[in-house]
């Protein structure tokens, strides 16, 4: 009796309990890893969802509207009796507002970045960098208010003929919105240029400005271009400023003083109305949404290409 329990105790527990402990421990670990993996794959599912949904609804749209009309017609009159489905007016609106924004934001943002990286003292930088983040956090609908009720009236002082809804004001405001992004990313790129390169330049007798423009900026080109690309994709995807202040009229024009609508503003405009599931209006916002995603994807690819193309190895 005593012996039997002794042998049993010797045979099983020590080894068994140790291995048993390890097995449950491994099981728990595996389980947690599996959950975390599933969570990560959920982000991929989001992308698949976006792409899948856009393609499926666009396919329905293009069953009813020919791709040729979509890409060549210069009218987008989905809200009227006689419907035309030409994406060109929306594309033109998007390009006009983005171009105005970039023409304003690129020079200002780059200059500010050069100043911040090469001229400003560490203390100034410590204050300015976080305030750029604060600026980037202002809600876009507030910028819409800014464009409609403050910038456009101010522009009308100089241009009395400017209509209350136009693309110039929103374009400028989008420019103001993306300056913090451009400044911040471009400054990071310039700061990461090694100090020796600046010292070499100073040793040759170059001034600060010459060093900044001829040594630092060329060395940081890849990062600066990435900053511009980030700015472009923000400008192209910006919605509320244009929806509030540009008039929501699809208008095939390259003149920024006229009212217009961008792809994003059109989506908002349609979504504001009654939007029955499966109607042509419902499908059209997915079709133009697909165009918008393709545009931003194109910019992302361009940005990636620019980063590798202009990369400087020190």
């Amino acid at each position: 009796m005593n012996n039997a329990s002794d042998t049993a105790a010797h045979a099983a527990p020590p080894a068994g309990s140790r291995f048993g402990f390890k097995r449950t421990r491994n099981l728990g670990e595996r389980f947690i890893e599996a959950i975390l993996f599933a969570i990560s794959m959920a982000t991929v599912a989001v992308t698949i969802g976006i792409v899948g949904l856009l393609i499926v609804e666009s396919a329905y749209f293009f069953e009813r509207v020919s791709i040729v009309e979509f890409l060549t017609s210069k009218q987008w009159t989905i809200m009227f009796e006689e419907k035309h489905f030409g994406v060109l007016p929306l594309l033109a609106g998007t390009l006009v507002t983005s171009t105005v924004a970039l023409l304003f934001a690129v020079p200002v943002g780059t200059t500010a970045a050069i100043y911040l990286s090469e001229f400003a003292t560490a203390r100034v930088r410590e204050i300015v960098k976080p305030s750029l983040e604060l600026l980037a956090g202002i809600p876009t609908v507030v910028y819409g208010y800014f464009a409609l009720l403050m910038v456009t009236p101010a522009l009308q002082w100089f241009m009395p003929d400017l209509p209350g809804f136009n693309m110039l004001g929103p374009g400028l405001v989008i420019g103001i919105m993306i300056i913090p992004y451009i400044t911040s990313v471009a400054e990071d790129a310039m700061r990461s240029v090694p100090m020796q390169m600046r010292e070499g330049s100073y040793a040759m007798g170059a001034t600060r400005l010459q060093t900044a423009l001829r040594v630092v900026v060329p060395a940081a080109t890849s990062g600066i271009v990435a900053a511009y690309i980030l700015g472009i994709s923000r400008a192209v995807g910006e919605t509320m400023v244009v929806a509030v202040a540009a008039g929501q009229q699809p208008n095939f024009t390259w003149d920024p003083t006229e009212p217009g609508a961008t792809i994003t503003a059109f989506i908002v405009q349609v979504a504001l109305g009654d939007l029955p599931h499966g109607s042509i209006e419902y499908q059209s916002i997915f079709a133009v949404g697909l165009v918008l995603v393709l545009m931003t994807l194109l910019f992302n690819v361009l940005g990636h290409w620019a980063r590798t193309r202009f990369r400087e190895a020190y």
Binding site: T43, V44, L116, G237, T239, V268
Partner: protein
């Protein structure tokens, strides 16, 4: 031959250009802050007189003077609850997986590229996804639940990226020490990685939520631009089980939508309401972002590895 005068002239010219550029640069740097000041000034000028207790206590109304932002404030709060409850576990979980668990293989690469790309997708596209998926396919309708989930998807990349940065800042000696005393991977994550990166994670969460609270476009896209003059059911009930989830299915409005609604009316009185709502919104996001930046600086200073 070195001409001393020519060199002096050259130096002076260089200094002059430096000074001129410094002034231009300073101005360019200040433009953003200047504009923020003008914007705030304008909002205060137009809307400050509307900011009193009744503005916070009233529902939207056809009469501008009696309209308020009560339903919008409550709506924003409830939507943020859903957003936080979904985006935080998913964002932090994905970041922990990518930093601590993932092997270097094509699946990991796929996830990483995907997160980068998601961060660049315009917000309105998330609205389209939500319209097709949450509103119609899953039949959540134009509800608080749909809006909260939409914004959660939108800020997921923000939380993932900042959490990863915070985790990456933890030196590998911490990990090695934990493994050396026999910790499992999960024990390491639970007892060391998450607590040490909590500051950075919190910063990312606040910045993400600040972005979500001001976001308008995706919520309009799911079709939520309506005048809401009632509050959703309370999440707390008098009887067991004391919690109710009916509020998730309720129609709603949020702060930026309410502002957009007032802004798109032509009457000046409503635009004053828009300015007042905008002021509240700007102050809220400034406080949230400011808190995030302050937290980050505090943690950066305190932790010395």
């Amino acid at each position: 031959m070195l001409d001393v005068q020519a060199i002096q002239e050259l130096v002076r010219k260089g200094r002059r250009y430096d000074a001129i550029f410094a002034i231009i640069g300073l101005f360019c740097m200040m433009i953003g802050i200047l504009m923020l000041a003008v914007l705030l000034g304008g909002l205060v000028d137009d809307g400050a007189h509307r900011l009193n207790w009744t503005f916070f206590e009233n529902f939207p109304s056809r009469r501008a003077q009696r309209a308020g932002i009560l339903s919008a404030m409550v709506g924003s709060t409830l939507v943020m609850l859903i957003t936080a409850a979904t985006a935080i576990p998913f964002g932090v979980g994905a970041a922990i997986y990518l930093e601590e668990y993932a092997r270097r293989n094509w699946v990991t690469n796929l996830i990483e590229i995907n997160v980068t790309n998601l961060a660049g997708v315009p917000s309105i596209i998330y609205g389209l996804l939500a319209l097709g998926l949450f509103v119609y396919a899953l039949d959540f309708g134009q509800s608080i639940l749909s809006a909260g989930l939409t914004l959660a998807l939108m800020i997921l990349p923000v939380i993932i990226v900042s959490t990863r940065e915070a985790i990456r800042a933890i030196p590998s000696s911490i990990r090695e020490a934990a493994y050396a005393v026999g910790a499992t991977r999960w024990q390491l994550v639970r007892d060391h990685i998450v607590p040490y990166s909590a500051g950075g994670i919190l910063t990312g969460i606040i910045i993400g939520l600040a972005r979500a609270i001001g976001e308008t476009a995706p919520i309009i896209t799911i079709g939520a631009l309506t005048v809401i003059a009632f509050l959703p059911d309370s999440p707390f009930t008098g009887e067991f089980p004391y919690l109710s989830f009916e509020w998730m299915k309720s129609p709603f409005t949020v702060m930026p939508i309410q502002m957009f609604n007032w802004l798109s009316r032509p009457q000046a009185a409503f635009q004053e309401n828009a300015a007042a709502a905008g002021l509240v919104l700007v102050v809220m996001t400034l406080i949230m972002n400011g808190a995030a930046i302050w937290l980050r600086m505090r943690f950066r200073k305190r932790i010395k590895w």
